[in-house]
């Protein structure tokens, strides 16, 4: 056998030599024909070519784009874009296409010449052989990592470590050998004897009728045959370690790649020297003035202090100052009044409601799952919203804030804690951040592994854009086109989340009844019971109280009932012959199965008449009926007070995740290399392993996300602090120092003031990651205190205000506008927190928040179901959270005008505003107008404005009087009221209310 083999080998070698010679001849003379037998020799012609032109990036140690051209196995497997060679068909072979078009190699001088391209072409045409078949065969030997993905895709949903259907676990070779109820699944060397292959070939496995239920696709014949081949080879296992960062320098990301400013830690910056030193209130101004002065500009004059008051109020609380607060500030003329104002506002509970909303946009907060028509509600999502508001109000350090959201479940052992403290509960609630993506995997038909990967991809997208300032999602299907993020790094990141987000071990959203075809999955949902012990006790106490009260009511009724029944029984017995009475009583007291023959006989004759139950009693005793009905009503009312057990929508590591493979083109049907957890190499030195250990001794959790959270909150992290302070800046100045706030990469927009950004980022970290300190710094700068007026010179020299030569004029966002309309009309209910307020949907599709007698709460407390967004939000650029929103638009469109002019709610609030004016300013028109300006615009009207108001009110009153008279119901009081309401409505529509100077 061996000899035969080697002689074939020899023949082949000779053949290839011959053909090599033929090529040379063919090149010299005859025109080449397609599919000619002149195959270039791989070792002599092709390999050297590849070695000199391609291996630098795609061979052996460096495998850019996941492509290794140094082995046939590597070529056949291909890279991120799939196989690069289709033997026999150069037209379909990516390798040929790339070199033919001159797209590869990338350097101009490295390109292949025409003859060289032709060698590759003919080599592919003739079948792309590399040498003797035995060699090829050994190169493409199948190992466990070729079959495991197949088993994960089709089998382990039932036969995995958790479910073990039929006591079978197919995730390891040992498990297959051990087998299940029907015996071993695997007989090495004999696919035909292996139960798993037999069942699959017969189409019994995976069971066709259960496929949809388990969201599993059927296996195709090719997949079964790969399994069979592996078994035929003896089911070999190769010792392959997952690809993770090591002490060897990363071959895919170079130090040059790490040179880009955003991938390097901020370095200390020295403050620039400026000429207008008198304008410098703090270092921010030096950085800003430096650039302005270079253009011959300076800071604009300081804004009027009442304008500053309004600006600061909206910036920090999203609401205008109330008249009393205006008065307080007006009267505080001592030095430091403005600084004291900022401190008061930062301490306001409204601060978290304003700034929490920005974070919720980044997280993609929603009260429903989206994607499907049912738009499954997330009834516990509000806890996360409250967590964000409270965290911001307490000025929780940003690094802690991130650690809780990224790995709260791994910060402390919540399962074995004797008591769930607020901190423990918050840790879990915080992980709701990673549960915000739209998700339809609760239904089996939209719950396939690919659908799950989409959810994970959305979460990575949220994480990348919100926290890291990176467009990570590009690397899902291939290496990032602009940033040095190899395909590999995306999957390393995926491996970090795998303990909690495993497409092959999935927890579905919790489904409640009546919501379409649901999965029969028994693995449980995404809610944890670990609310604070205090909340749990309150809930339990409430449940117990209800149970107790209910049983008291029942017992009372029961005893009454028993007395009455005894009474009526005596009466009925009294109507029967006396001799029978004792026997009848004995019969009634004996359970049916223990009665003797006589008793049974008596029962057939008399039991029906003598057995009085509650229904019968109610029929004969009206008083009892009334009492019983009352008791029932009380019980119903009591039961209605029961609450669902409090739970937390969370993400937690479940330990022992499935392996992570690179998915070529993002497709799980084309798995590539095995990778382990890691962070983007460009943000590290490329030669330090990523250190993962269990969060506490004996934890089942992998600790991967904790390691990630610790890494991302390192004080010297290149991006985290920069991205965070850039956002703080953005919401004060209307744009970030890096304008593309979600993309700090090479395709993003470079910072306008890089030194300022780095200085702020370092101040932030030095100050313990406290956001409020940065607000204070920004808002007390001369830059922030500038006027927003635009001069002709500024328009010319600083057209789009890139240099901050003035403050921008800012339109209120959807929430600030809505909340303001409520506040000024005196209808703002300032109750904080708790489950979201419902909305009303009118038949024409208009969605409005539902109010109560107390009015309406701030918009952040209104339910944000993806398919029932309040119309007001939609009109004013509230984004669809798909999956999140990095920056809202600031549109000016007709539907906004239509809403503010025509919507019933705005009319109602106009009326309420008018009533408030009458309450606070009495009946005098001029006083009403003054008050309206103070409340709505934080200032008094000019004489001209007051005059216009008086005239308008005069005309309106006349017209309303006339209109009311024409309708046959003249009413001077009502005419006055309506005209004031119309005036208020106009103020609510005015540009002065909508724009902040």
């Amino acid at each position: 056998m061996g000899r035969l083999f080697s002689s074939i080998h020899l023949l082949l070698v000779i053949a290839s030599l011959v053909s090599a010679r033929e090529i040379a001849r063919a090149d010299d003379a005859a025109p080449k024909t397609r599919g000619s037998s002149t195959s270039p020799s791989f070792p002599e012609a092709v390999r050297p070519l590849l070695e000199s032109k391609c291996f630098r990036c795609h061979g052996g140690s460096t495998i850019k784009a996941e492509l290794d051209l140094s082995t046939l196995h590597g070529m056949k497997k291909g890279g991120e874009s799939g196989p690069v060679i289709v033997p026999g068909d150069p037209g379909q072979s990516l390798l040929y296409e790339k070199i033919h078009k001159g797209e590869m190699p990338p350097g101009k001088n490295d390109r292949l010449d025409v003859t060289e391209v032709d060698i590759i072409k003919r080599w592919i045409e003739s079948g792309a052989k590399t040498g003797p078949e035995s060699e090829e065969a050994s190169q493409v030997a199948i190992n466990q990592h070729d079959v495991l993905p197949i088993l994960l895709r089709h089998c382990t949903y039932c036969h995995g470590p958790r479910q073990k259907e039929g006591n079978l676990d197919l995730t390891t070779r040992a498990g297959m050998l051990r087998g299940g109820k029907s015996g071993p699944a695997l007989v090495p060397g004999s696919p035909d004897q292996s139960l798993m292959i037999k069942r699959m070939r017969l189409g019994q496995m995976p069971p066709p009728k259960l496929l949809v239920e388990g969201s599993v696709k059927p296996a195709d014949a090719g997949e079964t045959e790969i399994l069979a081949k592996w078994i035929a080879n003896g089911a070999p296992e190769a010792a392959i370690a997952p690809d993770v960062a090591s002490t060897t320098p990363d071959p895919l990301v170079s130090d040059k790649d790490r040179e880009f400013w955003a991938f390097k830690s901020p370095k200390p910056v020295s403050l620039p020297v400026v000429s207008a030193r008198n304008r410098v209130r703090n270092p921010i101004d030096s950085f800003i003035l430096q650039k302005l002065e270079a253009k011959g500009l300076s800071l604009a004059t300081e804004a009027d202090r009442m304008i500053l008051l309004r600006r600061a109020y909206f910036d920090l609380t999203g609401l205008p100052p109330e008249p009393a607060e205006i008065e307080r500030f007006r009267n505080d003329i001592a030095p430091g009044a403005y600084e004291r104002l900022i401190d008061r506002l930062l301490a306001s509970p409204r601060y978290g409601e304003r700034w929490g909303r920005y974070w919720l946009d980044l997280a993609g907060y929603a009260d429903s799952e989206g994607k499907r028509e049912q738009d499954l509600p997330r009834p516990q999502a509000w806890r996360y919203r409250d967590y964000v508001i409270k965290s911001l109000n307490s000025d929780k350090p940003y690094d802690r804030f991130l650690r809780e959201q990224l790995a709260g479940d791994e910060l402390a052992d919540y399962e074995h804690a004797p008591e769930i403290t607020e901190e423990l509960a918050d840790n879990l609630i915080a992980t709701g951040f990673l549960r915000m993506a739209p998700d339809a995997t609760w239904a089996n038909i939209t719950g396939y592994a690919t659908d799950r990967l989409d959810v994970i991809a959305d979460e990575i997208d949220i994480l990348g854009s919100a926290v890291m300032g990176l467009t990570m999602k590009c690397a899902r299907c291939h290496s990032h086109k602009f940033d040095p993020i190899p395909h590999r790094d995306y999957y390393r990141l995926l491996a970090i989340f795998k303990g909690a987000y495993d497409e092959y071990d999935w927890l579905r959203p919790d489904v409640r009844q009546g919501l379409g075809p649901i999965s029969l999955d028994i693995r449980g949902g995404r809610l944890l019971p670990q609310v604070t012990s205090a909340e749990r006790h309150t809930w339990e106490a409430n449940e117990e109280r209800i149970t107790r009260e209910a049983s008291t009511i029942r017992a009372k009724l029961e005893s009454k009932q028993n007395v009455l029944i005894a009474k009526y029984l005596e009466k009925r017995l009294g109507d029967l012959p006396a001799v029978l009475r004792d026997d009848l009583k004995a019969m009634l007291a004996t359970p049916a199965e223990k009665r003797d023959a006589i008793q049974k006989y008596l029962a057939t004759k008399f039991e029906k008449e003598l057995r009085i139950d509650r229904t019968a009693l109610k029929a004969i005793d009206a008083a009892f009926k009334q009492e019983s009905d009352q008791a029932d009503a009380k019980l119903t009312a009591l039961e209605a007070k029961r609450q669902e057990a409090p739970k937390i929508q969370a993400l937690w590591d479940r330990g022992a995740p499935s392996p992570t493979y690179i998915y070529k083109r993002g497709d799980l049907n084309t798995p590539g290399r095995l990778v382990g957890p890691g962070v983007p190499s460009m943000l590290t030195d490329g030669k330090t392993p990523f250190d993962v250990k269990p969060p506490w001794p004996g934890a089942k959790s992998t600790g991967r996300r904790l390691a990630f959270a610790n890494w991302i909150t390192r004080p010297d992290h290149p991006l985290t602090a920069r991205v965070a302070v850039n956002r703080l800046w953005q919401h004060h100045f209307g744009k970030g120092i890096v304008k593309s706030t979600g993309n700090f990469g090479k395709a993003g927009i470079p910072p306008t003031h890089p030194e300022l950004l780095d200085w702020l980022a370092q101040e932030f970290v030095k100050g313990g990651w406290k956001s409020k300190a940065i607000h204070r710094l920004i808002m007390t700068s001369a830059t922030y205190r500038q006027s927003s007026s635009v001069t002709a010179e500024q328009t010319k020299l600083d057209t789009d205000n890139a240099l901050y030569s003035r403050m921008p004029l800012v339109r209120l966002d959807a929430e600030a506008l809505y909340d303001t309309l409520l506040l000024i009309s005196g209808r703002l209910d300032d109750k904080q927190f708790g489950p979201a307020d419902p909305v009303e949907v009118r038949s024409d599709g208009l969605v409005t928040p539902k109010g109560t007698r107390q009015g309406w709460r701030r918009m952040i407390y209104v339910r944000q179901s993806r398919k029932q967004i309040p119309t007001h939000l939609e009109n004013f650029d509230y984004p669809q959270m798909n999956p999140n929103c990095i920056e809202r638009r600031d549109s000016i469109v007709a539907p906004q005008a239509l809403e503010l002019m025509n919507a019933g709610m705005v009319h109602e609030l106009g009326g309420q505003f008018a009533k408030r004016l009458e309450r606070e300013a009495g009946k005098t028109r001029a006083a009403q107008i003054d008050r309206a300006y103070l409340i709505a615009l934080s200032r008094l009207p000019s004489d001209e404005e007051r005059q216009i108001g008086l005239e308008a009110l005069d005309r309106l009153t006349k017209q309303w009087t006339q209109t009311l008279a024409a309708s046959g119901k003249p009413d001077p009081g009502l005419a006055a009221e309506k005209s004031l309401a119309t005036y208020c409505h106009a103020i609510m529509n005015s540009a002065g209310l909508l724009y902040i100077d």
């Binding site: 066709p208 994607k371 499907r372 739209p438 239509l898 002019m901 019933g904 009319h907 106009a986």
Partner: protein, 479 residues
């Protein structure tokens, strides 16, 4: 300049209140609208030149949400008659949503006949459409990638199987703007009986600016949300409030020179007022002749509702609206049960109005510049889907992502064409397969837009309707 604009606006209000509508008014106001539209280029609704000479100026998309059954409408399958009752389910178990209800192969309950010069077969449940087949180009070989409504609807509307992307109509008006500045460029006529699957996401602008999203016109009552004053105040009062507001805003603006957004905001109030007038007029079908209304089946059941929407669609394209999209409530084409009666009901509601729309556009010369597109999000399976009681008389068909049939008519379309084919059972599109991206590219092409050149830069990526995998224009159906 500010003053003359003001005069224009005032005279507009005077004329408008005496009832001047139509082209003259549109012309009068178009200049104003152009002047005060938002500053950034390509982000407004001004008319823009296409990439090349277009065949179509407007599109009417008759979206048949639910998945109309190809083998019972336009793609007859004699093999189904022959193999009726034979089991087939094992061969397609991965392609079913409701495996437990799967029955045997099922023939169509309807008869087919060939019509027109082209001889295209049409089922007996569409007698009116049968009369205009020579204007239609059928694509029998469409396929999609998911067999569930939501993802499939997302795909056909926006090119991707999830929410958050601009829809076809949004891309079109992003590319071309609109001919009429007093009406939205992209109008949606949804069914007053209820929203389609995915609701308002069907006409969202995704990452394009929000002014490119579809605007819902209700075919009865107030056509746009908040178009009517909820408080029902007398016109005089509304006029006075507008006047007051405009004076206050002028003062505000004059104190803040060089702030373009303040001008834009004032303009948006003007447009809102004009929309209130012109939208109301466009929807007023009482101005149509009795003959026309009869043609569409208006005033009669079951055609009244869809007939109204078809007629309004014509009135809108007549006024230069770029993209009109019609919907039907819920899922009337989603015939999981009782195919033999339910599919007929769906046809009875739509057949006459659709045929009338084509005839009416043609006789007014509008069909030369209007592309009419008909189709759903996927097709249906050749096997029966049985109700819980397994009564075959009430059998329907389950979803099929691998084959469905659509048609186009009008501007640039070679009438009487049939493109592509399914296999002998109608299970898979096999010949000249047309992807959703191909279908999108073809519609864009007819409008003079190249699908690779119509993009928006997003984080360094050129986002396109047709995605990264390329698309082929279905040239075979073009005239």
């Amino acid at each position: 300049m500010a003053e003359s604009t003001q005069v224009n606006r005032r005279s507009f209000f005077q004329r408008a209140s005496t009832g001047l509508h139509g082209a003259a008014l549109a012309y009068l106001l178009a200049g104003e609208a152009r002047a005060d539209a938002s500053a950034s280029p390509h982000l407004d609704l001004k008319p823009r030149s296409p990439h090349f000479e277009p065949k179509a100026r407007s599109v009417i998309h008759l979206f048949m949400n639910g998945g109309p059954s190809q083998m019972d409408l336009f793609d007859p399958k004699p093999m189904l008659d022959r193999h009726h009752g034979e089991s087939y389910v094992d061969k397609i178990s991965g392609e079913l949503e409701f495996v437990k209800d799967a029955g045997a192969l099922m023939r169509s309950p309807y008869k087919f006949k060939q019509f027109g010069k082209c001889g295209a077969p049409v089922s007996e449940v569409m007698p009116h459409l049968a009369g205009v087949v020579d204007d239609l180009a059928f694509i029998r070989s469409m396929y999609t990638t998911n067999l569930t409504h939501e993802p499939a609807v997302y795909l056909i509307q926006s090119g991707k199987m999830g929410p958050g992307r601009p829809t076809l109509g949004a891309w079109v008006v992003y590319g071309l703007g609109s001919e009429n500045q007093n009406l939205p460029a992209y109008v949606v006529l949804d069914d007053p009986k209820g929203m389609p699957v995915n609701g308002v996401e069907n006409w969202e602008a995704g990452f394009l600016p929000p002014n490119f999203q579809g605007t819902r016109f209700r075919s009865t009552g107030s056509p746009i949300l908040n178009l009517k004053d909820d408080a029902n105040r007398p016109n005089e009062i509304v006029g006075m409030e507008r006047d007051l507001l405009s004076r206050l805003d002028q003062i505000h603006k004059q104190a803040r020179p060089r702030q373009p957004s303040l001008d834009a905001r004032i303009a948006s109030y003007g447009l809102a007022a004009r929309m209130q007038l012109e939208a109301t007029d466009a929807l007023d079908i009482s101005k149509e002749s009795q003959e026309t209304r009869d043609l569409y089946g208006i005033g009669r059941e079951p055609t009244d509702s869809y007939g109204r929407r078809c007629l309004i669609a014509r009135r809108l394209v007549e006024r230069g609206v770029r993209f009109v999209q019609l919907y039907i409530n819920a899922q009337i084409w989603d015939t999981h049960t009782s195919l033999s009666s339910d599919l007929k009901t769906a046809c009875d509601r739509t057949d006459q109005p659709v045929a009338a729309l084509l005839k009416d556009l043609k006789r007014r010369g509008l069909l030369d510049s209007t592309l009419v597109v008909w189709g759903g999000e996927f097709g249906r399976l050749p096997i029966a889907q049985l109700p819980p009681d397994k009564n075959e008389k009430r059998a329907g068909r389950d979803h099929n992502k691998n084959a469905f049939c659509t048609w186009m008519a009008g501007a640039g379309i070679k009438g009487g064409t049939t493109h592509g084919a399914t296999d002998e059972l109608g299970l898979n599109a096999v010949e000249n397969r047309v992807s959703v991206a191909d279908w999108h590219a073809t519609i864009l092409h007819l409008l003079g837009l190249h699908h690779e050149q119509l993009f928006i830069d997003l984080n360094g990526l050129k986002e396109k309707l047709t995605g990264v995998n390329g698309a082929r224009i279905v040239k075979e159906i073009l005239s």
